[in-house]
Amino acid sequence: MFKRLQADTRKPVGIFVDGTAVTAREGDTVSAALLASGLDVRRTTAVSGAPRLPYCMMGVCFDCLVTVDGTGNRQGCLITVREGMRIEIQKGKREIGR
């Protein structure tokens, strides 16, 4: 659904999404990188298990919650990708130890 602009010449950044190597761009937020990845990146909500994608992209709606480098419930739209970052699509509630 999302396509990167041809003219985007930012440097590539390698990240992993549920173990799959994905090439993001320098300056991408985690949410932007996930949406551009072409993968199914839908999380599920904590109570009803409804599917969700990042929505507001500005830190307000909390629909972009994701596990980043082992820490759950991070707001993907507020975190910039880093080389080697490991992202897991969070299904349901955060685990207390993560």
Binding site: A46, V47, T71, N73, G92, K93, R94, E95, I96, G97, R98
Partner: protein
């Protein structure tokens, strides 16, 4: 809507709602006169425990009454589910109080021993457990936990949904709920009560004062006495997390939807518009020492709330001698005692007579002597 009823219940919080629901259930024509949304409402700020252990030091009858409530709560949850389709998520598999030092554990064990040694107290089981036994049931405890006490009658519930279920049930029972109807005066004439509100007069054969701390001002209007003590509590709430806490604690519980609630402080205040962060800090620190993994969770809400607290901590149930048909009910534990209010107290009120063998100890007349000391508080 009609303006004359069998019974007017003043107060639409958890206590008034449980009584009104119980009255509607046995066919009484009931109106609930409530204040508005800005009311300081303990029913929206509570910790939601259905709790037995350690209650009743100084009044054994309170222990008996509390055990009975715990034992009939499952029926209430089932009846509300049948009637409204709402699951109030009662979990009654026993609760803990944990100690972070040998001194704390010893103090707790002594309190429970004194409680059990009271003449007339209900004989229910509370075990003092060492660290290993606690760890077998609560694997997430941290190294500082030395042990705790466990009572199999303890549990918790979704109290907001309980509140909603009562109000949903009102409709099925034909109970009229009227918000924005604070009662300003009560007069009895010609065998009925006339209750003045800003939106007109309501007439009823009987009146039940269940208005929390406002009972202090309302009770004298009908010759009753309900002195209240101001207390404020603070609560810290985390984001939702996968279930890790299989039993509720006196100060920490995980809700059916996954949030962790951390309480509960006690201050002599009635202002619920702010927080004392030094208190939240202590609560959060103790919670993290009890369950270190909590330290990784984000806090999403904190609040302070006003407790309804009769002056000596124990419930007040009374009927007026000067104004027959007028009753007063107030208590701290509106969640725990909800089943008693619906199934035991409501029928007594409908019959026009409180049963002295069951609730005689809770008369407001005890405050005249003020001989009772101690606290009904946890």
């Amino acid at each position: 809507m009609r303006n004359d009823y069998d019974i007017a219940v003043v107060g639409g919080g958890l206590l008034g709602s449980a009584i009104a629901w119980g009255l509607g259930r046995i066919g009484q024509r009931v109106v609930v006169l409530d204040e508005g949304d800005v009311t300081k409402r303990a029913s929206r700020a509570n910790f939601a425990l259905v709790w037995v252990q350690s209650k009743g030091l100084g009044m054994p009858a309170y222990t008996v009454w509390t055990v009975r409530a715990s034992e009939t709560w499952a029926q209430l949850a089932a009846d509300l589910k049948d009637q409204t389709g709402l699951d109030v998520c009662l979990q009654r598999n026993g609760g803990f109080h944990l100690a972070l030092s040998e001194g704390e554990l010893e103090q707790r064990a002594n309190t429970l021993k004194r409680l059990h040694n009271q003449v007339g107290a209900a004989d229910y089981q509370v075990e003092v457990m060492d660290r290993d036994r606690v760890a077998a049931m609560l694997p997430a405890i941290g190294p500082e936990v030395v042990g705790g006490t466990f009572c199999p009658l303890d549990g918790h519930v979704n109290s907001l949904r309980t509140f909603r279920a009562f109000h949903t049930g009102f409709k099925a029972f034909g109970v009229d709920y009227r918000p924005e109807h604070p009662v300003t005066a009560i007069a009895q004439s010609g065998g009925e009560f006339r209750l003045a509100t800003p939106r007109g007069e309501i007439r009823a054969g009987k009146v039940v004062l269940a208005a929390g701390n406002a009972n202090q001002a309302l009770a004298p209007m009908v010759g009753l006495h309900a002195p209240m003590g101001p207390t404020r509590g603070q609560i810290v709430v985390t984001e939702r997390t996968l279930p890790f806490l299989p039993h509720p604690l006196t100060t920490i519980r995980q809700t059916d939807e996954g949030t962790v609630m951390i309480g509960d402080s006690k201050e002599d205040l009635l202002d619920d518009s702010g927080l004392d962060l030094s208190i939240s800090t202590v609560m959060a620190d103790r919670a993290r020492r009890t369950f270190p993994l909590l330290g990784r969770l984000n806090v999403v809400r904190t609040w302070s709330g006003i407790r309804v607290m009769p002056k000596d901590g124990f419930p007040v149930y009374d009927q007026s001698e000067s104004h027959p048909g007028a009753f007063v009910a107030c208590c701290h534990s509106g969640v725990t005692l909800a089943s008693n209010h619906a199934y035991a107290l409501a029928p007594m009120i409908a019959a026009g007579q409180l049963d002295a063998t069951e609730v005689g100890a809770f008369t407001g007349r005890r405050f005249a002597a003020m001989a009772t000391t101690g606290s009904g508080y946890y």
